[in-house]
């Protein structure tokens, strides 16, 4: 691929898919969507630090699912149905009326919380995929010129975060090699102090470099290779928007056919993309 896509493309695509997933609220469709997105990410993401966002988002999604399910079991409105098991009810003071901790766990309650967990995780994973597929720096460059200055400040901040992570790893390694225990609260100073000093000097270096290269000297800025919209970007966005629009147009004649249709559409899109 010679020209990289407009950085907003994947965000619109993922956003539309997320809306579609939320509207349809079907676990099957959501899981299928994450699967399709995962395929797109594996084939389309570049070798860059932000490409790991999807993996991180998936992990985060699993955590969200687990926590949501757990809290759903422990706390919540009692929903009648088939009782699977029950846990003892925690006695709460009278002013906390309406909240119950523990009690009977019904199949209906469990499936509802699990369902919500999946939906949340799907949306997080979809946004993570968008972050994986487009460079945050390029995304900021395509923002309107008025907030460009702000954008550059964000660029510095975002470029420092991955650096912070690598510095932390490096310093912890070094301290471990000195035979130091780097875990625990008591030893946080051993990592935090060198880390703070390291990142401060890095930021100063970056600021000096930007200063020396004339950043902020001219009130106006020109743009090298402005991002543009082409057929491919439109196609990708349309494919996802179609996934939102499809169930709105067709009447719910058969639920299964409808549920699968947007999903097919997405799959079709990803094959176009290849």
């Amino acid at each position: 691929m010679d020209r990289s896509l407009h950085p907003l493309t994947w965000w619109i695509w993922a956003g539309a898919l997320a809306i579609s997933a939320a509207r349809q609220s079907s676990v099957l469709i959501s899981i299928a969507m994450v699967g399709v997105v995962a395929i797109v990410v594996t084939f389309k993401s570049e070798d860059a630090p932000w490409a790991h966002s999807f993996a991180w988002a998936l992990k985060l999604g699993l955590w969200i699912f687990a926590i949501r399910t757990l809290t759903g079991i422990l706390i919540g409105i009692p929903i009648p149905g088939r009782i699977l098991f029950s846990i003892p009810v925690l006695p709460l003071p009278s002013w906390m009326a309406g909240i119950r901790i523990g009690g009977d766990v019904t199949l209906e309650r469990l499936s509802l919380t699990a369902h919500e967990g999946v939906m949340l995780a799907t949306i997080v994973a979809l946004l993570g995929a968008a972050a994986s597929l487009s460079s945050p720096h390029r995304l900021l460059r395509s923002l309107p010129i008025m907030i460009y200055e702000f954008g550059v400040a964000v660029v510095i901040a975002t470029s420092l975060i991955p650096q912070l992570v690598t510095s932390t790893i490096r310093i912890r390694e070094a301290q471990r090699l000195r035979g130091q225990d780097v875990r625990g609260l008591r030893n946080w100073k051993r990592v935090a102090l060198p880390l703070l000093e390291d990142s401060l000097s890095r930021s100063l270096d970056l600021a000096a470099a930007m200063d020396a290269r004339g950043y902020g000297f001219s009130k106006k800025r020109s743009r090298y290779r402005p991002n543009s919209w082409h057929f491919r970007e439109i196609l990708i966005c349309l494919s996802a928007i179609a996934a939102v629009a499809w169930p709105l147009l067709a009447l719910p004649a058969s639920m299964t056919a409808l549920a699968l249709a947007p999903n097919l559409k997405v799959k079709q899109k990803s094959s176009v993309e290849r």
């Binding site: 035979g179 000093e197 800025r221």
Partner: protein, 540 residues
């Protein structure tokens, strides 16, 4: 092009004068080398040229600095961006964008240049620095030499008249350094660019310099041709030390000239065929067929190595060849996917706490990563406490490495050499069996390097195994008993320092190039051998 008139500089929180009444001019199309001990103010001088000092960092400046007729007093660094390109010590810290092409365009965008001019200039620079094939690459994935070229490129797109570089080759292997320097040489000769460059490894740059600015460290500085400055200066590359040791009347700065003046010496020598004793050392480190990969890239591929007591092993190779990975595996911080490492029968990753300290000492690329104390003394006493040794012994060790270090100084305020010495004494205070150093000579001047050599030799003579990864051929020639050469994660050469260094022209030290085919690596080798065979001329 650049003129300093009665410049004095003092930092507000310090009592030390950095420069005092400094006056000199640099002409157009000149390559000026700034040399001096660490902490003498080389970086400060470079930053004065485009006004980063005092505009960016503060400081009290007297006198006047003019570049192309513009005084830095009135104009901020940004206003000189079209005139002066500056490349910092760690270019990676100065990159703003993540793609090569966008990085090149960043400065021009800031100055609001029209898009068509930007396109043209980016193409020019891509060709000039042979970066065209990297244009769409992410900067983070480039090698050190490539990153340095991108940094130079992003300064050149502004069409500056002056290019200022702070230690551009200190992190590079000899071949990448050669590449960067020859590009600078071409820019000076073809485009009439004025270049001011600071560098510790004089042997790399000396042949390109038109003049040298020697910063003495006491506020004074001297400028002149390399021949004049190096005649008397205490900082000098091996080639000059050789000329001095041989008592040659004039010093030459290129290997070619030096070969001519030592022709007689080489012809007359007939070396006794000395075969150094192949002593059977008891094995300390055994590396057996280890492989390790990061994602899809293989960092180490079935590496086997056996290192014995008292050996000083230098690991050499290109940037990214797998040197650090090998060191970290030996130290037990990385777990090889295949193969085994044993250190005196222990698996290195299973060592913890005191046991680890007494077995392996590791100095990382940034020695300050090890340090967290608020003062030199604090650092030393905590090392004493950890190792349960007499209080004050670590500081005593530090004193013997670098005399005159104040116990109250914050480790961050030390010079590179002093910081390395502090890290070394903290690590050595537990008397480890193995000492591992990753790139120890970044930013070290010759005197710091000499004290490092002495420390390593002393450690080795007590039976400690020393392993160091480095690009510094001269250091390897001075200190190593054995060289292991790594390329693409495999060992391609392993043998006596002499044999390995002499077999590759790019990695041969200066003295070896001059004296080839006679197998001498250092000035000391030459002096010892001449004394041994027959004194040609009285040394000095």
């Amino acid at each position: 092009m650049i003129s300093f008139t009665n410049v004095s500089l003092i930092y507000p929180t310090s009592t030390k004068t950095i420069f005092e009444d400094l006056s000199f001019t640099v002409n157009e199309g000149e390559l000026v080398l700034v040399m001096g001990a660490t902490g003498s103010g080389k970086s400060s001088l470079l930053r004065l040229i485009n006004g980063l000092i005092p505009h960016h960092t503060g400081g009290i400046l007297a006198g006047d600095i003019c570049v192309n007729g513009i005084s830095t007093r009135e104009v901020k660094p940004g206003g000189l961006a079209h005139l002066i390109g500056i490349v910092g010590q760690n270019p990676i810290n100065g990159f703003v964008t993540d793609k090569v092409e966008e990085e090149l365009a960043f400065g021009m965008e800031a100055l609001n240049l029209p898009a068509d001019i930007m396109r043209k200039r980016v193409e020019e620079v891509l060709d000039l620095l042979s970066l065209a094939h990297l244009r769409n690459r992410s900067i983070a994935t480039l090698s050190g030499g490539e990153q340095q070229r991108v940094a130079i490129g992003s300064a050149l797109v502004m069409h500056p008249k002056v290019l200022v570089l702070d230690e551009p080759t200190s992190a590079l292997d000899p071949i990448a350094a050669e590449e960067v320097l020859s590009i600078l040489h071409r820019l000076v000769h073809d485009l009439g660019l004025t270049v001011v460059i600071s560098e510790h490894k004089l042997e790399r740059v000396i042949q390109f310099a038109d003049r040298i600015l020697h910063i003495k460290g006491d506020g004074q500085a001297q400028i002149g041709t390399p021949e004049v400055i190096l005649q008397t200066s205490d900082i000098a590359p091996p080639i000059v030390h050789l000329a001095r040791a041989l008592g040659l009347p004039a010093i030459s700065l290129t290997v070619r000239d030096m070969r001519r003046s030592t022709e007689e010496l080489r012809r007359d020598i007939s070396l006794p065929n000395t075969q150094p004793e192949e002593g059977l050392h008891s094995e300390v480190i055994a590396v057996r067929g280890i492989s390790l990969s990061y994602g899809h890239t293989k960092a180490l591929d079935k590496v086997s190595l056996s290192i014995g007591e008292g050996e000083i092993v230098a690991i050499m190779g290109r940037n990214g060849a797998g040197k650090s990975t090998l060191l970290k595996s030996i130290a037990g911080i990385l777990q090889p996917t295949q193969g085994q490492i044993s250190i005196l029968g222990n698996i290195p990753s299973s060592l913890h706490g005191k046991e680890r300290r007494m077995c392996i000492g590791f100095i990382p690329q940034e020695p300050s990563d090890l340090l967290y104390g608020q003062s030199v003394m604090g650092e030393c006493t905590s090392a004493d406490r950890e190792n349960e040794i007499d209080s004050g012994s670590t500081f005593e060790l530090l004193r013997s490495l670098v005399p005159g270090i104040s116990p109250k100084t914050h480790p961050r305020d030390l010079s590179e050499g002093q910081r390395l010495a502090l890290a070394l004494s903290v690590v050595l205070s537990s008397h480890p069996k193995i000492l591992i150093l990753d790139e120890p000579t970044r930013g070290l001047d010759y005197s710091a390097k000499n004290s490092l050599v002495a420390t390593l030799n002393a450690a080795a003579s007590h039976g400690c195994v020393v392993i160091l990864a480095t690009h510094d051929v001269e250091l390897v020639a001075e200190v190593a008993t054995r060289v292991v050469f790594i390329a693409d994660g495999e060992i391609v050469a392993d043998g006596r320092t002499l044999d390995v260094l002499l077999s590759s022209p790019a990695f041969a030290p200066q003295v070896a190039k001059i004296m080839s085919p006679v197998p001498w690596l250092t000035v000391k080798n030459v002096v010892d051998a001449i004394g041994l065979v027959k004194p040609l001329r009285p040394a000095e």
